[in-house]
């Protein structure tokens, strides 16, 4: 009977993404027995590998949420999110100023910066949905220009924010034992899934992603929905950018969110989502994002140096992607079927 249960389990969408994450964590447990220890450090903040992984993956989770919608609606990816993060940080730091006190209320600067990021997303959306430029090419524009724009805003300098509460978003609020980015990531995920579940947007995005022509004929505005997905992706990049900037309480336009767009795309794929668009799972992308960060953190904890990290990461990613491939799934299905048959055969024999 448990074999049939296994068969049912393997059919679940999130089965393989979760298995991959568990494998990564399990390897850690064997290599580093203290991996799952969580303690409270001298500042009264929870501390440990697990907390660290989730904390560090916050930006990636937020980016992956936006990326999932782009992929689902347009079968394309937004490769400009890393640069948009830099623009966001530049706008925020420029608006707040580098003096001993803020030039404008933090709240306003936050809204302004995230609004600019959303505009960037809308620009991508306009190019992709209205002008029908291939997503990769359309977002390549901001990918290359974005960091330049950020440099223009900062005047080519690294702007440091000296006001202490700027750090809260990227570290902890005083007296709260859990790092703030974790809350923000959870909030973004919950709000997005509410938006998708409580309105028809989720169904619309899937419908447009699967068959844009048919969707138009049944009354959907495919152009607007794709536009919306990219705009939303920009918004997510903005929020992620604010966290990343706050972590180092400065804006380094050349390095904020560097290469994160590729990790975000990978997170979507690791989550079992097809990059050909259509049906998607937000939870899958979140698990994918955590997997990627878990991988980096555990490789660091095993003493792999930062410049060698990509090599090991690549090897593991290849294995994970292969595990989730159709061919491998077919193989598993074949094996489980055999087992069930054997099981049934034995029962008959008895």
């Amino acid at each position: 009977m448990h074999k049939e249960l296994f068969k049912k389990l393997t059919k679940l969408r999130l089965f393989w993404p979760i298995v991959c994450l568990l494998i990564v964590l399990l390897v850690n447990l064997i290599k580093t027995p203290t991996f799952f220890n969580i303690s409270i450090n001298s500042n009264g903040v929870l501390y440990g590998f697990l907390i660290d992984i989730i904390n560090r993956s916050s930006e990636l989770i937020i980016l992956a949420v936006g990326m999932t919608l782009c992929v689902a609606a347009s079968a394309g990816t937004d490769i400009s999110v890393g640069s948009v993060m830099a623009i966001t940080g530049a706008v925020a730091c420029y608006a707040l100023g580098t003096g001993g006190s803020y030039n404008m209320p933090y709240f306003l600067a936050f809204i302004l910066a995230v609004f600019v990021a959303t505009l960037c997303g809308a620009w991508n959306g306009f190019l992709v949905a209205k002008l029908k430029i291939q997503p990769m090419v359309a977002t390549l524009i901001l990918y290359t220009a974005g960091r330049g724009i950020a440099q223009l805003i900062t005047g080519g300098n690294i702007l440091y924010i000296k006001v202490d509460n700027f750090k809260y978003l990227g570290s902890v609020f005083p007296g709260v034992p859990v790092p703030t980015p974790i809350f923000v990531a959870i909030l973004v995920v919950i709000l997005t899934s509410l938006l998708l579940k409580k309105t028809a947007l989720g169904m619309y995005i899937q419908s447009v992603g699967i068959n844009a022509k048919a969707s138009r004929l049944l009354g959907l505005n495919s152009t607007f929905i794709i536009f919306l997905a990219y705009t939303f992706c920009g918004l997510c990049a903005g929020i992620a950018g604010m966290i990343a900037t706050s972590r180092i309480y400065s804006i380094d336009a050349n390095n904020v969110g560097l290469n994160l767009e590729m990790d975000a795309i990978l997170a979507v794929a690791l989550g079992g989502n097809s990059l050909a668009g259509g049906k998607f799972s937000l939870a899958g992308s979140v698990i994918g994002a955590i997997t990627i960060q878990a991988l980096s953190t555990s490789l660091y904890s095993m003493g792999v140096s930062a410049d060698q990290l990509p090599v090991y990461k690549a090897i593991v990613v290849v294995i994970i992607v292969a595990l989730q491939s159709k061919e491998f799934k077919k193989f598993v299905k074949h094996v489980t079927q055999k087992l069930i048959l054997k099981d049934a055969g034995e029962k008959v024999a008895q």
Partner: protein, 510 residues
């Protein structure tokens, strides 16, 4: 040329099957030197398969092909081989490189060389000469994309002819040309004919067949109907042959006229005035009443789908006006026409109908959801109730309402699409080929449903290639030919021979 009736191509007993279907069975085809020979047939008759077999795109199982000047039967294994054997093909979509010059396009792959280097002077000179042969004088060094589609078509023909001029196949070359351009093409065809080239002309425009062709070969359902001289085959006969009804048999079938006088009392639902979409459907007038089934008849490509699409806004009408219940409507996208009570089942179920990966429930609910708007999500319970109701009403065979629609059979998919629109409670339902590729049982069910909807006051537009099916269901019929609406038939006038006469045109009072 000395022997006008020399046979340049003989195809005998050609047999070809695709998995599950016989595409060609024992088809004969003969082409003589210096003739233009039309290959006619409805969709799926086997025209393109025959061409593909001849040009080596597809293999065939039985039969023989003989080409003048070559001993023994010829089997072309590739289009290149066919070309070497003297067969050139020009397709509907032009297979040239728009970013190369005209001369380059004519000589690509067989450049004239001088001491190992390409001799551009000679190439440009030769290209100019070849085109001059067709009375075309253009700058051959300019990019091909600078010229009109018609001119590109001519360049494609020039290239084909220069490679080999024995047999030329023109596969629907006129579908993207306007009248002037078509005339120009015909001139070229006549010129080639006088030089002894045998031309196979595939088209579905009847007018053009009678304008240039000498002989007609008609195929139907993969079989040969016959070869005729143009002067011996009046249009009505040709249409009858393509559709598979002997004209004389049809004259006797007559549907008793009934209650079409009540029409005057009927409320007008939709009025199209000079509505049109440039390039696909010429401006037309059409009035549709509540509770009637109006049929659209015409050959493939006559504009019957395009007329429906212009009304619905699937292809936005760019001229004329549309009134619904007396009010003028501006329809920019399907959602606008849905809001005034229209519904549209497209012809191409797979590409324009179903959302393959979504469930039966989602597929059914989407149109109503789109109509209500994104922020008024239909409650899950209501979704399920509606879906269950229509699964039952339309007798849809599905494992559950959550089964992806792609796992259903074609007929059941079609019923889901029908359900999708019935859920929106439309006043006007457009069904474009709703029974294509569906088993006979389901076909009859859908026809019955259509009549049933109309009796409840819905107006239905029914488009089908099968005239018999339309006769069973429609009260009135509009007939289209070559993008024009050419006539309307009242219930009392509906009969197969009458419809065919109007479709064929020209000799309406034969």
């Amino acid at each position: 040329m000395e022997n006008k009736d020399r046979e340049v191509l003989k195809m005998r007993n050609i047999h070809k099957t695709f998995p599950g279907v016989v595409a060609l069975s024992n088809v004969d085809f003969t082409l003589r030197a210096g003739e233009i020979h039309a290959l006619m047939g409805e969709n799926g008759a086997g025209k393109s398969t025959l061409i593909k077999v001849l040009t080596g795109v597809e293999e065939f199982e039985r039969g023989q092909i003989f080409i003048d000047g070559i001993d023994g039967p010829v089997i072309n294994k590739s289009p290149q081989e066919a070309q070497m054997n003297g067969i050139s093909t020009v397709y509907q979509e032009i297979n040239l490189c728009p970013n190369l010059s005209v001369a380059e396009n004519i000589f690509i792959g067989r450049e004239i060389k001088k001491r190992g280097r390409i001799d551009w002077k000679a190439i440009n000179k030769r290209a100019k000469e070849i085109l001059a042969n067709f009375n075309i004088d253009i700058d051959v060094t300019k990019q091909l994309s600078n010229y009109s589609v018609a001119m590109q078509q001519m360049v494609a023909i020039a290239r084909a002819i220069d490679i080999s001029s024995k047999i030329l196949i023109l596969d629907e070359p006129t579908s993207s040309l306007d009248e002037m351009e078509v005339e120009r093409l015909f001139e070229v065809m006549r010129k080639l004919k006088s030089q002894g080239t045998g031309i196979i002309f595939v088209t579905h425009f009847l007018e053009q067949v009678y304008a240039v062709c000498d002989r007609i070969t008609v195929l139907r359902n993969g079989g040969l109907v016959g070869e005729y001289k143009v002067e011996n085959l009046p249009r009505v006969q040709l249409v009858a042959k393509m559709m598979g009804k002997e004209f004389d048999d049809l004259a006797s079938i007559k549907k008793p006229a009934n209650e079409s006088e009540i029409k005057e009392k009927r409320e007008v639902l939709i009025e199209a005035k000079e509505l049109g979409h440039s390039g696909t459907i010429k401006p037309f007038n059409l009035t549709i009443h509540k509770g009637e089934v109006i049929g659209l008849a015409g050959l493939l490509g006559s504009g019957r789908s395009e007329l429906a699409r212009a009304i619905y806004g699937a292809d936005k009408a760019d001229m004329g006006e549309l009134r619904v219940k007396g009010k003028k409507c501006h329809i920019n996208a399907p959602i606008d026409s849905m809001k005034v009570g229209m519904a549209f089942c497209p012809e191409n179920r797979k590409e324009e109908g179903i959302i393959a990966d979504l469930s039966v429930r989602e597929n059914m609910i989407l149109a109503l959801q789109a109509k209500r708007g994104m922020f008024r999500l239909i409650k899950r319970k209501e979704q399920e109730e509606l879906t269950d109701k229509f699964i039952k009403l339309l007798q849809i065979k599905t494992a559950s309402r959550e089964t992806p629609i792609k796992q259903l059979s074609g007929g059941n998919q079609q019923k889901v699409i029908l359900g999708r629109w019935l859920i929106t409670e439309p006043d006007f339902l457009i069904l474009d080929e709703p029974t294509r590729g569906i088993d006979v049982g389901t076909k009859t069910e859908i026809q019955k449903l259509v009549v049933d909807f109309a009796s409840k006051g819905m107006a239905v537009m029914f488009i089908s290639s099968e005239i018999e099916e339309m006769l069973r269901t429609v009260n009135r019929m509009a007939v289209l030919r070559d993008g024009y609406k050419v006539g309307e038939l009242e219930e009392s006038e509906l009969s197969q021979d009458r419809i065919m006469k109007v479709i064929a045109g020209g000799e309406t009072n034969a």
